[in-house]
Amino acid sequence: MREDTVLGIIFSNMHDDTIGELTNIRTMGSVPFGGRYRFIDFPLSNMVNSGITNVGVVTKSNYQSLLDHIGSGREWDLSRKVGGLNILPPFSNTHSGIYRGRLQALAGISDYIESHRSQYVLMVDCDIISNVDYREIIKQHIASGADITVMYQKLDMARADLLDDTTAFGFDSNGRINDVMIGPTVPGTYNIYQNVTVLSRELLCRIISETSQRNQISFKKEILQNSFDRFNIQGFENTSVSLNIHSLKSYFDANMKLLDPMVRSAVFNPQNPIYTKIKDEVPAKYGTSAQVSNSLVADGCIIDGTVENSIIFRGVKIAKGAVVKNCILMQGTTVNEGCNLNYVISDKDVTVRENRMLMGFETYPIYISKGSVV
């Protein structure tokens, strides 16, 4: 047994309420992204690419789409005899149920965590799209002797980016956290928590047992904010490109940023591929009147219309004469002849009938819910 073995835990439901439109029928982890992915593909692939092969995915509600997506974990090479992927639904024991915060969620899976022999635990949420090598934060954690290491990114935050649960850190000269702000309101440059945390499994077990006795719910408040005197909490700066999703607008922007070649090559680094469920779609087919520019297009699409500045998911059909600009069209969307769409996010299997006009605006994209017929 190697000393640096790590158990990965992914929280699939945290931050669901930030994009309620998209998470009404799914977990945060199973929100479609970037033409063929789901949010969870990023932390899951990062873990696999970082050599973490024991991964538990914590779910809470609306997780059918998540189960369907990750299945046995084979696409991530996590369908293993030893270790591999475990989906951890609520009610795993008689004391656990629907959790309200991270500490309760962890208490619900305490048996799972205790049964592992890994030395460390890496906890990740699904609200940040980034191609990160987690080995770096783990290496630093071991070298620094910290009790807990948190991943952060230095960001200029406008008022609109600062949410109730935005968490920012201050550090002392030794890199140890000496200030934790939850929900800062003044715009400025902050060290923003990326909801990635490393600690020893033994410490995590102790924290779970102590906090559950006191009925404490929030990891951020109880452990990071109220216990930084007690624990040596260190920061690890993530310098790779990160796309933070905390609203429908930021979801839209994050997708559109993939059209930037710099962002795309950082997020889809061929050395650390992002894996996803295979659908066995045919390559995309372009017709005689197709006019496509500055767009990402996935397999299975049949495109004969005009597409600009858009993210087109698998199996989308855009008929001749239809115009799609600045849109995110999810899997199975059909746009019929003569339609004109601008700043639209269509969820899965939406049909837009002939000659419809749907216009959103850059700051307010229109969202069409799954399966709708317009």
Partner: protein, 400 residues
Amino acid sequence: MIRKKEWISMLLAGGRGSRLYALTTKLAKPAVPFGGKYRIIDFPLSNCVNSGIDTVGVLTQYQPLVLSEYLGNGQPWDLDRANGGVFVLPPYEKSSGSDWYRGTANAIYQNINFIERYDPEYVLILSGDHIYKMDYSKMLEFHKEKQADCTIAVLQVPMEEASRFGIMNANEDGQIYEFEEKPKQPKSNLASMGIYIFTWSKLKKYLEEDEADPNSSNDFGKNIIPAMLKDQQKMYAYAFEGYWKDVGTIDSLWEANMDLLNPNVPLELYDPTWKIYSRNADMPPHYISSQAKVQNSMVCEGCQVEGDVEFSVLFAGAVIEPGAVVHDSILMPGAVVKKDAIVEYAIIAEDVVVGEGAKIGERPENCPDKEAWGVAVVGAGIHISPKAVIPPKAMIEQDV
């Protein structure tokens, strides 16, 4: 304990495909990329799975590495089965009489042990060099209904082309009374598709007899089928309707790819009830830039298109830089066409780099000498230097 199977399939994938020249120097013909994300073998393999066959022996001999690696445990085709699945069967050393596969029939003969483990009633023999979609279970029903010893799938070809094929002469209910290999004066236009269902007990007998004959070339078409006809075994022609294409030559491989772009060609890949499975690359969606023009083409994931693409098939990860032109061509996985290069009527194999301003191939209308025109081919991994000119019909097997 291996359980009995009603039928299993044996897929002949050992052929070199010498008429594909540079495309098959490092891989066997069935592993040649096709249609943007497939390899030729995906078609018979997917047909097997979709027809309910869960045990497929793939007979390999020539350059088996790429093919074996591609098939792996068979998972992409749902052939990673507890009982059955896909098996790569190369020739192997035996206590006596070790040998390469000497012919199609000999390849099956050498694997009698493999087949007997499943104790099948019927064996489906396929070849790995055709593009088509076919429900073999209907052919099996036909075989059982006729109580045949052998059923051969046939396709009606234009009479004037019939002399290029193995022609089955059959009476009205389909019973074959004569087989003619490439007849000068064909009596019918029923061409053999190289797809056979045999009642296993009969086939085994004929394989053993054929093996005992030192003058035999151990081939299904030349020996087994004629021998069974001579003995008046019950042999039936099963008529297939639909798209079927032998992709054994550069021209036919190019044409079959182009057929995918033609809405009038009846090869429907988008049918969700008859998917063609393949091993997928883990690549992001393809990107079409604002300078790009893409029409009448198939584009796979991972491509980056910044040039002008028409009537072309782009495989995973192909890159077309700004100002480059790709018309009527096939770009296999990872091919790169640098700035201002022109590629017309060409097949560019895997990981080829076409240098800046190079020109490959030619439109037929710009070629005064019709005899000199043909599809240009650049073999895998080759670098074409900037401004180089590769004429039509060229076969490039080293860096230029």
